[in-house]
C-alpha cells in the first residue's frame, strides 16, 4: 500500500498533461487549416452561388433600401489619441468601415478587424491595441471622441454609450485619464479654414475642430504647435496655461479635465494601491486553498499556515495603504475642485457671448456655443 499527497498527485497530473500536449501541434494545425478551409470554402461557394445571385437581383430590384440600411454611412466616430481612427457605422449601428487617418492609426488597425461590431465593441478592441502599443499610459491617457450623425439625438445616444464603454474599459485596465467627446452633424461642406488645417497638418476633422476652438481661447497659442501635439499633450498644455475649455468640450460640474499634479499623482497612487490590494487578496486566496489542502492531508500544514498568515498580513497592509491612498486622492480632488470653481466662475461665457452649456450630468453632451460643434461632453475618469 502506498500513500500519495495531494501535491504529488497534482505534480504527476501536471507532468502528464505536459507530456500529452505536443508542442509540434500548432504548425500542423495551421497548415491543415489552410488546405481544409480553402477546400471547404470552395465547396461552399458553388451551392451558395445561385441563391447569392438571386439575392443580389432581389436586392437590386427592391431598390436602395438595403443599401441605405446596411452600406450607407450613418455615423462617423473619430477616435483621436494621436493615432487617429474613423469608424463608419450603418443604420443598424454596426461598423462598416475603419479608416486610419495617420500612420500611427494605420499601425493600430493593421492587426485588428472591427467590421460588423458595435461601436463600443470596436472602440474597446482599438483601446486594447492602443494600450498594447503604449499610447494610453501614464498621466495623459486622454481620448477625444467625436460622433457625427445627422440625427443629433442618435449622435448623443451613441456618444453616451461610447463614453460609458470607454470609461469602463479604461477602468478595467487601471488607466486614469480624460475622455473628451464632441457631437456634430456629418459634414457636407467643411469650413475652408478647418479643411486647410486638416490638409496642412494631416490631422483629423475632429482634432482640427478641437484645435481651432482652442485657438479662439488664447491668441498666444499657435495652430502649428497644437497640431503636432497629442490630445493628452494638448490637455496638459491647457492645464499648465490654465485655459478653460469647458465651453468648447463642456464638462460636468463634478469633474474637470484640469487636474492638479497632486491629483494626478494621488490618482496614480490609488490605482497602484488598489492593484496591490487585489494582488494581496489573490495571494490570500491561494494560500487559503493550499492550507485547506494541506490540512486535509496533514502534511506541511504548518508551512502552509505560515504562508497563509504572511499573505494575510500583506493583505492587511495593502488594504491600509489603499485606504490611505484613497484619502490622499480625495484630499487632492477637493483641492482641485476648489481651483475649478474659481476658474469656472471666471469663464462662464463662451466666445460668442452665449451662456456655456456646462452640464450637471456627467457623460452627457452640452450645447456648444461654436458654429461647427453641436454638442459635447467630457468625462474624467478616476
Amino acid at each position: 500500500m502506498r500513500s500519495f499527497s495531494n501535491r504529488q498527485i497534482e505534480r504527476s497530473l501536471q507532468k502528464s498533461i505536459n507530456n500529452m500536449t505536443s508542442t509540434e501541434m500548432s504548425p500542423n494545425i495551421t497548415n491543415n487549416y489552410k488546405e481544409e478551409y480553402k477546400m471547404k470554402k470552395n465547396k461552399l461557394f458553388l451551392p451558395f452561388l445561385v441563391p447569392a445571385i438571386a439575392l443580389f437581383i432581389a436586392v437590386f430590384g427592391l431598390g436602395t433600401n438595403y443599401y441605405d440600411k446596411n452600406l450607407k454611412v450613418n455615423s462617423n466616430i473619430t477616435l483621436d489619441v494621436n493615432p487617429s481612427i474613423v469608424l463608419s457605422t450603418n443604420y443598424y449601428n454596426k461598423v462598416i468601415k475603419a479608416e486610419a487617418l495617420n500612420d500611427d492609426g494605420e499601425e493600430i488597425l493593421k492587426d485588428i478587424n472591427v467590421n460588423n461590431l458595435k461601436p463600443e465593441e470596436a472602440t474597446n478592441i482599438i483601446i486594447d491595441e492602443l494600450i498594447k502599443e503604449g499610447y494610453l499610459e501614464g498621466d495623459g491617457a486622454n481620448v477625444l471622441l467625436t460622433v457625427e450623425n445627422n440625427d443629433l439625438v442618435k449622435a448623443k445616444e451613441i456618444e453616451s454609450n461610447l463614453l460609458e464603454s470607454v470609461n469602463s474599459k479604461l477602468d478595467e485596465e487601471y488607466i486614469a485619464g480624460t475622455v473628451i467627446t464632441q457631437v456634430d452633424t456629418i459634414r457636407k461642406n467643411i469650413d475652408e479654414d478647418i479643411k486647410s488645417l486638416m490638409d496642412t497638418y494631416n490631422i483629423s476633422y475632429s482634432k482640427a475642430i478641437f484645435i481651432s476652438n482652442i485657438i479662439k481661447k488664447d491668441a498666444t497659442l499657435r495652430v502649428e504647435d497644437l497640431a503636432k501635439l497629442r490630445i493628452s499633450e494638448i490637455s496638459k498644455l491647457l492645464n499648465e496655461k490654465n485655459i478653460d475649455i469647458s465651453d468648447i468640450v463642456g464638462h460636468n460640474n463634478e469633474d474637470s479635465m484640469y487636474e492638479s499634479a497632486a491629483l494626478t499623482q494621488a490618482k496614480k497612487g490609488l490605482t497602484k494601491a488598489e492593484q496591490a490590494k487585489n494582488q494581496a487578496e489573490n495571494k490570500v486566496q491561494t494560500a487559503t486553498e493550499e492550507l485547506q489542502n494541506q490540512m486535509k492531508t496533514n502534511q506541511n500544514a504548518e508551512v502552509a499556515e505560515k504562508a497563509y498568515q504572511e499573505a494575510e498580513q500583506a493583505r492587511v497592509k495593502a488594504e491600509q495603504e489603499a485606504i490611505a491612498a484613497q484619502k490622499a486622492y480625495e484630499e487632492a480632488e477637493a483641492e482641485a475642485n476648489k481651483g475649478n470653481t474659481t476658474q469656472n466662475t471666471e469663464t462662464n461665457q463662451n466666445s460668442n457671448g452665449e451662456t456655456s452649456g456646462t452640464s450637471s450630468s456627467s457623460n452627457q453632451g452640452n450645447t456648444s456655443g461654436t458654429n461647427s460643434t453641436n454638442g459635447n461632453g467630457t468625462s474624467n475618469r478616476n
Binding site: 500513500s3 500529452m20 500536449t21 487549416y33 487601471y174 487585489n278
Partner: protein, 181 residues
C-alpha cells in the same frame, strides 16, 4: 465624488482582442492562443473522452473550429467559455460518431498512455480517468493544466466554493483509490 474601487479582472491572457486577431488570420495571434490554451483544450477533451489519443485528435479539431468560427465570436469578454463550448461539442460529437460507427478502439493501456513517461504518472492519470466523474475530472485536469479555481468557476459558470470543494473531494477520492490499488 466617490472613488470607484476597481475589481481585479481574471486574466488568463486570453481576451477578445486575441480572438479578433485570429479571425483576420493573424498567425502570431493564433500561435499565442494555441500556446496559452492547448492544455486547457486537451484537458476538456480528455475529461469527456477519457482517451488521450482521442483528446489529441479533438484538440486539433478544436483549433480548426476556432479558426473557422472566430469571425462569428461575439466580444463578450468570455473567450475561455467560448473555447470550452467548442471543445465540449467536438468531444461529444466524436463520442457520438464512435458509437455510431462502433469504432471505439480498445487499446492496451501501454499504448493509450505511451506519451506519459513514468509508470507512477500513468497510474495516477489512469486512476483519475477511472474513478472521477466527468465534472470532477474536468475540474482536476483544468486546474492542473494551469487555470486558477476562479477561472474554472467563470469558465464552467459554477460557484467558486463548489469548484474548490469538488476539487478537494476529487483529490481525496484519488488518494484513497491509489492507496488501496
Amino acid at each position: 465624488m466617490k472613488v470607484k474601487l476597481i475589481n481585479i479582472s481574471i486574466n488568463s491572457g486570453i481576451n477578445d482582442s486575441l480572438i479578433n486577431k485570429v479571425s483576420i488570420g493573424n498567425k502570431k495571434a493564433f500561435d499565442e492562443l494555441y500556446e496559452k490554451t492547448k492544455k486547457i483544450v486537451f484537458s476538456i477533451a480528455l475529461s469527456i473522452t477519457k482517451s488521450p489519443s482521442d483528446a489529441e485528435d479533438i484538440t486539433q479539431e478544436v483549433y480548426i473550429k476556432i479558426l473557422e468560427k472566430s469571425e462569428s465570436y461575439k466580444n463578450n469578454g468570455k473567450p475561455l467559455a467560448w473555447i470550452y463550448a467548442i471543445a465540449r461539442n467536438q468531444s461529444i460529437s466524436l463520442i457520438r460518431k464512435n458509437k455510431k460507427t462502433d469504432e471505439v478502439d480498445r487499446l492496451e493501456d501501454d499504448v493509450r498512455f505511451s506519451c506519459v513517461d513514468k509508470e507512477i504518472d500513468k497510474l495516477i492519470l489512469k486512476s483519475a480517468l477511472e474513478i472521477l466523474s466527468e465534472e470532477e475530472l474536468q475540474i482536476v485536469m483544468l486546474h492542473n493544466s494551469g487555470l486558477k479555481h476562479k477561472e474554472i468557476a467563470k469558465m464552467l459558470d459554477i460557484q467558486l466554493s463548489t469548484i474548490l470543494s469538488k476539487y478537494n473531494r476529487s483529490l481525496i477520492k484519488m488518494r484513497k483509490f491509489l492507496e488501496y490499488n
